[in-house]
């Protein structure tokens, strides 16, 4: 089985530069994809998708294209809509990046460079770094998406994927307009209603039955844990911000004081500055290791649930086709047509079941490995910072 999906490792950088992401695929250089850069323009963000491959399908061995978030979504949706992929867990779509807040600040920073005092400028820069850190969530998701697709034996061969990687013009994919969004909304409602009906059908296969119950419960709990973890990370960030303010107040006190305590104050304010940096780091790391992990698995478990749904749906279709066939045989009308339908359904179902089983097992292995890695790293980082 190919590629256990190791989460990307993040290196930290102090400036607005990005974190270099190393993707570690066991199948080595057959296909390696990552996001090597991001550019924030007035109202959109452009990511540079960088590919390294030894596969013959590509014209070059190493190349890069520029993509926007909508194009990622387009790719994801094309997978979902592809019937052939019904039996696979589609890697979850990366959530829309929230660059607005940081863009605003960046603008202010650029404009105010002349007018602000040096301290205010540095303070703003520090706050901005925090925002850049937050954005690593976006990078994390984008990368995970790409890596999962690249590692998946079937999906990596998808034509759309190759186009996505190689075609260096704009894919002219527009975001969904209102009508389409409304359609999507209704589709989702229908799907969830259907899902309820379909889930009533008891599965013959114990493995799948067990998986279904497990997934439903797990999904809910991951959702809960993810929200709480987010809150916790935000609180940490608030504390770090407070340290920042305290540090600057102490600094002001120190510069204004005439007694010999002023040196003392200045030292303490430095200390608070350092502490703030570290606390901010703690919160960012927690965010990364814990919150992002949980968020990601929230989505993955949703995707797994979707898979199960599709399988159940096809099972129901199969059973319906069986019934239709029986009816047709009884009436001796359109038997051939019914038979073909039934065959198709049967094949579909079996195909899905087969791949689904493997996918779910993979999912578990991946999950365990990812949690292990992240929890270990979380603990190590917390230790490092505490020291």
């Amino acid at each position: 089985q190919e590629g256990s999906d190791d989460g990307p490792d993040f290196l930290s950088e102090e400036d607005r530069g990005l974190r270099a992401i190393n993707v570690d695929l066991q199948t080595d250089a057959a296909l390696q994809v990552d996001i090597s850069d991001a550019l924030s323009e007035r109202d959109k963000v452009k990511f540079t998708v960088h590919t390294k491959s030894s596969l013959p399908n590509f014209k070059q061995n190493e190349f890069s294209v520029v993509r926007q978030h909508e194009e990622f979504i387009w790719l994801h949706d094309s997978f979902v809509e592809n019937e052939d992929y019904a039996g696979y867990i589609i890697p979850p779509a990366p959530p829309r990046p929230d660059f607005d807040a940081s863009r605003e600040k960046l603008q202010k920073l650029g404009e105010g460079e002349g007018s602000m005092t040096k301290e205010e400028f540095t303070k703003m820069k520090q706050e901005l770094e925090a925002y850049v850190d937050l954005n690593t969530t976006t990078f994390f998701f984008l990368n995970m998406f790409l890596c999962r697709v690249a590692a998946h034996p079937i999906l990596r061969k998808d034509l759309n994927f190759h186009v996505f990687l190689e075609y260096n013009q704009d894919l002219s994919v527009r975001g969904k307009n209102k009508k389409e969004k409304l359609e999507d909304f209704f589709k989702n409602m229908v799907k969830s209603a259907d899902g309820v009906i379909v889930s009533g059908v008891k599965d013959v296969d114990d493995f799948f039955e067990h998986e279904r119950t497990f997934l439903v419960e797990y999904h809910n709990r991951v959702k809960d844990a993810s929200t709480k973890s987010d809150k916790m990370t935000r609180s940490h960030k608030n504390v770090a911000d407070d340290y920042n303010r305290i540090g600057s107040s102490l600094y002001a006190l120190g510069t204004q004081d005439s007694t010999d305590i002023c040196k003392f104050f200045l030292k303490v304010s430095e200390l608070f500055d350092k502490t703030r940096k570290i606390e901010a780091r703690v919160s960012a790391d927690e965010d990364l290791k814990l919150s992002d992990l949980l968020k990601y698995y929230l989505r993955e478990s949703q995707a797994a649930k979707d898979l199960l749904y599709r399988r159940s749906r096809s099972l129901v279709d199969y059973e319906n086709a069986n019934k239709a066939l029986d009816k047709a045989r009884a009436k001796n009308k359109d038997v051939l047509q019914a038979e073909t339908t039934q065959q198709i359904c049967c094949q579909k179902f079996e195909k899905i079941s087969e791949s689904a089983k493997q996918e779910l097992i993979d999912f578990k292995t991946r999950r365990v490995a990812a949690f292990r890695k992240n929890l270990v790293e979380l603990a190590e980082l917390e230790l490092k910072h505490a020291k």
Partner: protein, 484 residues
């Protein structure tokens, strides 16, 4: 002219707002104490109305750091009001003395055991005030009494009345809180009312400790009575809605108006500088205090969120069917729970060690500003006396021209009277200026010490928290690694 004799504790009514009150008992008490440092710190107290003051005020800042020999100076006026021997120093020497000696008094005060007395809306909290001392002005070496909050307020009001107009910085008492007290009275046994009581107890302790550190205030008989005597007359005039309370509010308003109208010619740059400094300090401290309060709030939030997350992680661990991962997640939940406790404790430290002291100092600075205002009022009085004197002189000149001998005599008498008043005003003004200089010096030294101690203590608490964090995460790490 009548001035009261040295105030007997029981007989001094709480609303004695007259400026005739004076300082501590005759100086013989000072002799008994082995507090040489006290003498080095030149406490000066002058009864404003004592006519014999002139011979006592030695000529302007000159000479000797003569150790006080109160007997010689006090003797001629034994029968009159209590005055301690003033000792005049060179200003620079004063400052050196301040820094070198600090306030070294052997007296330790604790406020403890808050106890609810009574029921319903008449209930109140009684606090035990324990004093340990080797000072011989107290009857025993160790003693304790029960006091309630209004007793503290009463003490402060007495001290403020007696000393602030002379330029002494009297530490302010903790603030009233109707909401907080009502909750306690009603008997809600929840954490917010226990927190409130603890906050108040700590504030009262700090208040007393600060007050006894002041060498002049320590001498005060009211303070002694407060610490020692088992029964204390109830200070009813501290209630906000009493007659005295309303009088206080009116006075405050009048003062505020006056402040705006008095335009003082500041001849002494030192005062101008210091006032500016205190303004700045006030602003800075307020900002810092706000930040620290925000920190306390956020840390409490962090603690709550961590607890919620811990529960959530435990649930996740339960539903996870991979045993090792499940166990690791449960461990994570436990770790986070311990961390949440840690955060809570740190929040307490944030608050009591840091934030409360900051708010104390903000109120202290208000007291300092008040003292500066008194000086301004004193100056105004002096100026007014001069103006009146001028008018009287003009009137006398007119009378001389008009040649009315009987009225003339009266006019001359009045002139004499006002000349004395002018002299008095000038001396008062100089006196208060001197006292303020000393007080400010003492305040600054104290402030530096306090802040250092507070910050060090606070940083130590932060370090401790981190060390605990280390322990917890180190315990967790092998569990995480053990996930197969």
């Amino acid at each position: 002219q009548s001035s009261p004799s040295s105030p007997e504790p029981a007989s001094l009514p709480a609303e004695d707002l007259s400026t005739n009150s004076s300082g501590p008992k005759p100086a013989e008490i000072m002799l008994d104490d082995d507090r040489e440092d006290l003498f080095a710190e030149a406490t000066e107290e002058v009864s404003l109305d004592s006519p014999e003051r002139d011979p006592i005020l030695s000529p302007e800042p000159a000479s000797a750091i003569t150790p006080v020999t109160p007997t010689t100076l006090v003797a001629p006026r034994m029968e009159s009001k209590s005055v301690t021997a003033p000792v005049i120093f060179d200003r620079s020497r004063e400052e050196i003395e301040e820094e070198a000696n600090g306030d070294l008094f052997d007296i330790e005060i604790n406020v403890s055991d808050p106890e609810k007395v009574g029921d319903g809306m008449n209930a109140y909290m009684a606090y035990r005030v324990t004093t340990k001392t080797s000072l011989s002005m107290f009857h025993k070496n160790e003693f304790s009494v029960k006091r309630r909050f209004s007793d503290f307020l009463g003490l402060h009001s007495k001290l403020a009345t007696k000393y602030m107009h002379m330029g002494y910085i009297v530490p302010p008492a903790p603030e009233k809180s109707i909401v907080g007290m009502t909750k306690v009275k009603v008997g809600k046994e929840d954490s917010s009312s226990t927190e409130f009581v603890e906050k108040r107890r700590a504030a009262l302790e700090r208040y007393l400790q600060r007050t006894v550190k002041h060498p002049t205030l320590l001498q005060d008989p009211d303070l002694r009575q407060f610490l020692e005597s088992s029964e204390l007359p109830r200070a009813v005039n501290t209630q906000a809605l009493s007659g005295a309370g309303i009088l206080r509010m009116v006075n405050k308003a009048a003062d505020a108006v006056n402040k705006m109208t008095i335009k003082m010619n500041e001849s002494d740059a030192w005062f101008e500088e210091k006032q500016q400094q205190f303004e700045n300090l006030d602003q800075q401290l307020r900002k810092l205090h706000a930040s620290v309060e925000a920190l306390v709030c956020h840390r409490k939030e962090l603690s709550a969120n961590t607890a919620a997350f811990a529960k959530s992680a435990a649930m996740l661990g339960n539903s996870e069917d991979h045993t090792a991962l499940s166990r690791a997640l449960s461990q994570l939940a436990e770790v986070e729970e311990k961390i949440d406790q840690l955060h809570q404790e740190q929040a307490f430290a944030d608050f009591y060690v840091f934030s409360e002291v900051l708010s104390d100092y903000i109120r202290l600075i208000a007291a300092v500003k008040g003292v500066f205002d008194h000086r301004m009022k004193c100056w105004q009085k002096w100026q007014d006396a001069q103006v009146t004197l001028q008018k009287k002189r003009e009137a006398e000149a007119k009378l001389q021209l008009a040649n009315k001998p009987d009225k003339l005599q009266q006019a001359k008498d009045e002139i004499k009277e006002w000349e004395t008043k002018v002299q008095q005003g000038e001396k008062d003004f100089e006196q208060i200026s001197k006292t303020i200089r000393k007080e400010v010096g003492r305040f600054e030294a104290q402030r530096v010490k306090d802040f250092k101690t507070v910050i060090i203590e606070y940083l130590e608490s932060l370090v401790q928290t981190q060390q605990q964090l280390i322990k917890y995460w180190e315990a967790f790490l092998p569990e995480a690694k053990a996930i197969a």
